[in-house]
Symmetry: none
Subunit: 526 residues, 2 copies
């Protein structure tokens, strides 16, 4: 399939996505994300604005040398020439020309008021800017796409002028005119009407660039495609300014899996979940568990009621096969869990429980009893696996025996609080008494515990707490209530969640910490 | 406007939203959320499944006694009678009848395979179950809505049967047949076609219940309304199983602000941002900053490039006026509290700040600075009032001076954990050194603190901590992150919420405790 021909999947994570509040990408981050996007098979990767931003100039320089893209072409983003100068004399246009990118995506104003207010030039000169810049870059051998900024609002304000900008661009040699819903306020029917009109009036090849301010970025993109657009822009994980850009994976998955359009190379959509999560690691923005298709909750079912029906025909309970997007159906083990869901969950974790009815009963009863005391296994797979292992193997996996622990938190003379923990335990026949410090009691306990165990099991040095959640279960009693703590631990390769419960928040945290270390050690010692 | 007539805004946060992974609502949480939803002016609040779930039975019992709803009617959710029994003899149907709810939303199967596989009955008996249950509840004086589960998939599998279920329900007296995209995989055009067909074929009043698995829940809801649906279900903050339900605020805002439909009582949409965030405090699910309309980033602009144009005409850079949804345009970092809202808030607390511009500036600046460090005043009125009092009166209200505190948590020989706190402070000229015990560090600190202060101010004996919430603000750093603690204190007559922030969870808790006692003492000594 010609990825650069019949349909363009155009990613703008590295440019528009990076506008997201709190998102900050180094050049190395951008190179790493570009490799992931190429692995997904997108046709185009917009790398940034060379010339306007030194980091982006650097990105294009290093990309030319270091990136070996198999599927994607790099696109450089930039503006039309300034008013009153020749395109060839505009240093920003020169930076685009010299970026080494085969494709330049030029942003142009198509809303009359924006031309006057932001560019402070005439409508005529704006058209000339579009024409000249495209002609110049085309003459230099580059492919040019036009991003018509504020197009939909501009179309409402002055349809004739907005269309004139597109016509000018197409005549000057722009291969695509991408209609940008820059303010993100459009609704699908409106997008559809405008795209139909644009195609009929201008005959140009149309692209769509949607933002999610109305919660309709995905639907707006699909509406544009249904109306004839053959170029879709978006960002992985829906990153972007304000409410974000169209989530590219969701758009592509809908096109491929629901609308039978082939827009990615064969088989690569199955990499989407892995890639979306890998990019989230680079951006350090926690992935949204409820994200369509790729979220960790996207195919999670509270079992119980329907588990037996799910067993017979899982497709009755999911909108598509999660395998097609590289995700998995997950059954949440919760207090509603019946025997069938425990069996299914066991299977997911590699235990075939179907032959042992009594075992399943025992596990189900324990889960129910523990959930009644405040545990939750739906979010704590690792604690559930330890429980299962205990019942299957006859004893709980254990790598150390705790004798006692203590943690002190107090104000220092400067008014700051400091925590200090002492842990006494035996591991591999040796007794350890270790004191650790931290800026919180759990942090201090974690430090002491890992130092003690680390003497026998040095791999725990790699373990790190990456999330800590506290929930008071029995509201109405304030600090007297039962506390549930969820801890996420990573070994740098994967992560797992454990749960602890207790009247004392520190005791609950301790339980989750011990489970977290035990699960990690078990994984390394199997 | 008759909220229960021409158009139904139907919230299912307390039932379907609570299916979200990791979301766990106590009865008190549900009552609190119901009050917020009523404040938004929704027409219906689905409270849960009485009879099937003891917590929900309790909710309806307490709701009848404690909730004084101004706008909304409560709906009880439940299933049609079991196969082979009379509706009047089914205890679950009886629980719906006896719930005290004026509206019952009955879920029924409309997909032939689900009838066979999950209900294990015949298609005929399923129709009878729908007919009997509705007739029975109608005869008992209740309004009945039908949730046609898996409707869209069922319509594809067996259109005639799916329509027959709806027709049966309408004939038996269901006021609305809500078409549920239970698996969430629909796209807007498909929804539109089906809704048109249903209305034409059955003549029933149609509702829509959408999930976000294709990233189109909002657009699907709008497509249904455009096709004639006059009842929309959704959840605040888009809570719900898997990828969530349709975000009710986004749907309603699109309807009111973009499609000129009046669906909420006049003026209440302006409460939406505040309410969405307040509900997030109760659920303890961190609000998504990129959430359409109400997200903290939804109207955040990276300034610079367009700042001057934004100043001249902000509407060129936003899809609607954020004031209409109670949100704010933000040009620079963190600016949630504008001057106007500080003034309004002050007025609410009995301070007329309108005459003193400088004071408002000072308070606004402090709030901004503190929110940037992790405070939230949205949910902590009492801490805000103390701050305001400090600025207005020139000094912070204070009834004691803390010298130092320390808390120890350790395992006892029986394996249980115990906490012991020592507090040193001066109050009314006397120095106190008091040790308190508790089943958690905050509990122990609270005990010691109240015992020490209680010598000078005996009324603190009446004070009680009734809620304690912890949120880790900077995910990705585990226990190293900044912690925010919200504490609710009561004196038996009313209650107030205070906030504390710190790298150390105990330090954050201490701050909130001290504010809580100070606020209570101030109230008794004014």
């Amino acid at each position: 399939m010609d990825l650069h021909g019949s349909f363009h999947v155009y990613d703008t994570t590295l440019r528009d996505g990076a506008q997201q509040e709190g998102l900050n990408l180094s050049v190395a981050d951008k190179l790493s994300i570009a490799r992931q996007l190429d692995g997904l098979g997108v046709g185009y990767i917009e790398g940034g604005w060379p010339g306007a931003n030194p980091k982006d100039t650097e990105f294009f320089r290093r990309a030319a040398a270091e990136l070996d893209l198999r599927h994607a072409r790099l696109a450089a983003f930039g503006a039309t020439r300034r008013a009153g100068v020749r395109a060839a004399d505009d240093p920003l246009v020169a930076a685009l020309r010299d970026s080494g990118a085969g494709v330049v995506t030029l942003v142009a104003k198509s809303h009359d008021r924006h031309v006057e207010l932001a560019l402070r030039t005439t409508l005529e000169e704006n058209l000339a800017m579009v024409r000249d810049t495209i002609s110049h870059l085309r003459a230099e051998g580059q492919t040019v796409f036009l991003d018509a900024e504020h197009f939909f609002d501009g179309y409402r304000a002055n349809r004739a002028y907005a269309l004139e900008v597109l016509r000018t661009a197409a005549e000057a040699g722009a291969e695509v005119v991408a209609l940008c819903d820059t303010n993100g306020g459009m609704l699908p029917d409106w997008v559809s009407d405008v795209v139909l009109d644009v195609i009929e009036t201008t005959g140009a090849r149309v692209g769509i660039h949607a933002h999610n301010d109305s919660g309709c970025a995905v639907a707006n993109s699909l509406a544009a495609v249904a109306a004839g657009a053959t170029h879709v822009q978006g960002c992985i994980n829906g990153y972007g300014e304000r409410t974000g850009n169209a989530d590219l994976v969701t758009v592509v998955a809908n096109l491929e899996l629901k609308l039978d359009r082939t827009v990615l190379p064969q088989g690569l959509l199955r990499e989407a979940t892995r890639i979306a999560h890998a990019v989230a690691e680079v951006t350090n923005v926690p992935p949204a568990s409820r994200q369509p298709y790729v979220g960790t909750s996207a195919f999670a079912h509270k079992a119980g009621l329907h588990a037996s029906a799910i067993k017979v025909d899982p497709n009755l309970y999911q909108h598509m096969d999660p395998v097609d997007i590289g995700n998995d159906m997950r059954l949440l083990v919760s207090d509603m869990a019946g025997r069938a869901s425990i069996e299914l969950k066991g299977k997911e974790l590699g235990y075939d429980l179907s032959a042992d009815r009594e075992l399943v009963t025992r596990v189900t009863d324990r889960v129910k009893a523990m959930e009644q005391r405040g545990h939750t296994f739906e979010a704590a797979d690792a604690s559930f696996e330890l429980l299962l292992a205990e019942e299957v193997e006859g004893r709980r996996p254990s790598y150390f025996d705790v004798e006692s622990w203590r943690v002190i938190t107090e104000t220092r003379t400067d008014g700051e609080a400091i925590s200090e923990a002492t842990v006494k335990l035996r591991s591999e026949g040796v007794r350890y008494v270790v004191t650790g410090e931290g800026n919180g009691p759990v942090n201090a306990l974690d430090a002491a515990l890992r130092e003690a165990i680390g003497q026998a099991f040095p791999e725990v040095a790699k373990f790190e707490l990456i999330d800590y959640k506290v929930r008071i279960l029995d509201q109405g009693h304030g600090t007297d209530a039962i506390t549930r703590v969820l801890i996420e631990t990573t070994d740098g390769e994967s992560s797992w969640v454990t749960v602890g419960v207790g009247a004392n928040v520190i005791e609950a945290s301790w339980g989750a910490l011990v489970d977290g270390l035990t699960f990690g050690l078990r994984r390394h010692h199997r």
